[in-house]
Symmetry: C2
Subunit: 404 residues, 2 copies
């Protein structure tokens, strides 16, 4: 028969199991970070390639496709390593569903690339296809962050997700701005979208730093210092405040691409640091949970031995001293789990913003029969027109759901 002691140990083993699962997911997040980075480069190159009528970046693009494919194989390997048996992965239904979307996107890449090579689609369409795939990859990271049961690891995953999302906005800005410069034109709508991409990335990096420790914050400051920020801001100014006829100098596209790429590559280093810290954190937490389990077992073994020595006097139970020790451990464990849960809820609250926006988008998609990109555009347009935050618009949409 299972005793209180069995369940005390089982509770601790569950914790360790969840931590090990988190370590796997964290390794997956690291690999996804590398793939996202490579695909972001491919997107930027494809955009300049298309905007220049196939005259720029043809060779680099081919090389980059090779890089992407190699990393994609690695990520697929990590997906394969996930235990898809029911019950093994927390939040499995949502995580696996996100992965199915990503695999679908990766399967569609060869066709997309062939159409880009043949210049059979516009740069907007090309960008949109890459943005969808990257959004799918980030959604996997989001589910990982949302399913973490350890507050410290959850914090690290939230920082990682927000940093990756901020970097993705930077990547979108590179592609978007690159397209504007290469085509030699930008109008008022372009300008608004550009500013939106700048604001979005800054907010993400802010959240990421709020959930990071001092060493990451220092690395981020150093990266920003090493970035060609002055060049970048000058080109942003030119792009976001174009001449009245909307003309932009196409020769600036190379400089724009280089400045953005230098900054994004520096971001990648900070992201690598975040991934390393996440991995270390998982290892440390697993090691300490295992050590605590061993300590508990040792104490209980000693007491059990003592209890057996005096067992002739009693017929059942562990004896009063062992009983008290178990109860104390159970109470301490309860208290700790409660504290962890409280902290976890605080960390997770930071993920709610995205959830609200996703819900508002889903509502618009259903009510207006539009796709996700269109729904996002509607929200963003309303936010820009009314000079409100995307989150506030999303909340209004949800509040008005009965009228939609």
């Amino acid at each position: 028969m299972k005793t209180g002691l069995t369940f005390l140990i089982a509770a601790r083993e569950c914790e360790i199991g969840e931590l090990e699962q988190l370590a796997l997911t964290s390794a997956l997040v690291g690999a996804i970070g590398r793939l996202v980075h490579a695909l972001q480069r491919e997107r930027g190159m494809s955009n300049v390639f298309l905007a220049s009528g196939g005259t720029r970046f043809a060779e680099q693009r081919t090389a980059q496709i090779g890089t992407c494919d190699a990393i994609a194989r690695e990520v697929r390997g990590q997906f394969d390593a996930l235990d898809t048996q029911a019950g093994q992965v927390r939040n499995g239904a949502r995580l696996f569903n996100r992965i199915a979307v990503v695999l679908h996107g990766l399967d569609a890449l060869p066709d997309l690339r062939a159409r880009i090579a043949a210049q059979a689609l516009g740069q907007d369409e090309s960008t949109a296809a890459f943005v969808r795939l990257l959004a799918g990859l980030l959604a996997v990271v989001f589910e990982a962050a949302d399913s973490a049961t350890d507050p410290d690891i959850s914090r690290a995953l939230v920082a990682m997700f927000n940093f990756m999302q901020g970097k993705e906005f930077s990547g979108q800005e590179r592609a978007f701005g690159g397209g504007c410069f290469a085509s030699g034109h930008a109008d008022g709508a372009h300008q608004q979208q550009w500013l939106h991409l700048i604001e979005s990335q800054e907010r993400c990096f802010q959240v990421a730093m709020n959930f990071s420790d001092a060493s990451v914050r220092e690395a981020w400051q150093a990266a920003e210092k090493a970035s060609p920020l002055a060049d970048l801001e000058r080109l942003r100014r030119i792009g976001c405040a174009p001449r009245a006829d909307g003309h932009l100098d196409p020769d600036l596209s190379q400089g724009w691409y280089d400045a953005c790429t230098l900054r994004i590559d520096l971001m990648r280093e900070v992201e690598e640091l975040l991934a390393t810290r996440l991995r270390t954190l998982c290892e440390t937490r697993i090691a300490s949970a295992r050590a605590e389990l061993r300590d508990q077992q040792a104490i209980l073994a000693t007491l059990s031995h003592e209890a057996q020595a005096g067992a002739s006097e009693r017929t059942a139970g562990y004896g009063p001293q062992l009983d008290r020790s178990i109860l104390t451990m159970v109470q301490e464990q309860s208290q700790r789990l409660q504290e962890m849960n409280d902290e976890l809820e605080t960390v997770r609250a930071s993920l709610n913003e995205r959830k609200l926006i996703e819900r508002a988008k889903g509502l618009l998609m259903a009510a207006r029969k539009v796709d996700e990109a269109e729904a996002h555009k509607m929200l963003r347009q309303t936010a820009m027109n009314q000079n409100r935050r995307l989150l506030d618009v999303a909340q209004s949409v949800l509040a008005m759901s009965d009228y939609l």
Copy 2:
């Protein structure tokens, strides 16, 4: 290599696995309901036995102990049936920890009963010991409700938990009032605690009914109609508004016990209905999830067959039609999981009140070095003194945590 299709199916299987886990937990909740009911009777009998100096309920109490032990063996059997292997039970760490507390309490029962039989402890101490054990059993139900991933089942578990908690407050009222009548005395402090127990149970039943369907609400109305509410309210009035000297007629204790017991037994029938509906709900949800999985697999098999017939034209992938079908299914599944999650968060919000109070208690226990019962008493006393809800006091305590 695992494909999008693998993960689409795996996501669905995860859902089914979680539902099966919930069915097990729900069966456990049903058994706990029966044990709680039996222990509540034993508590009431023990109290009258002690208050009457051992002259009342001696035989019934012995019989009730036998009933309790039989049901406790059944509950232990359900605990044994739980898969304590890491990762098999969602929220395992917290659930198993709660179970460890319960098993500890059950192991201590024989000693408690011997002391009651020898009249070696007061009725307050006896009541407190039973209240602790019952609180531990209810905490298991709470964790089950808090870990449910299906909104409908979560709703049913929230209703169940609140109903059980309301019934437990009724049981506490029976024991408390029984003690007052049997001892022939009640003062102002007794009166306040009595009123608190009445209010608490009413609020719990209200929440339980908010999360129940019409059939349960009708059963609850019928149960209340069949209850001796007029007798109960008359005795409550006598007990809560005693004569200036605090004297109560000890001969009323039998009538009080009978009226309370009749009502609580009727509650038990509603609780049984809730348990049955919970079980049926789990079965229905599992059956429909399995049917949906079979449907998906059938559609995919047909398409895959068609795709193979035309496979000579292509070298990789499922073919465009199959690809689109998979993507549609993935998107529908994503949308459904998102909606389920939103609904789930709404349902779970109702559990936050208890969590806040638990956190405030934990804070007081740590800051003032008191035990849980004392911390709860402090909160309740403050609520009564300031004429505020327990929840509001708990929130104030948490807000002032820096000063404690």
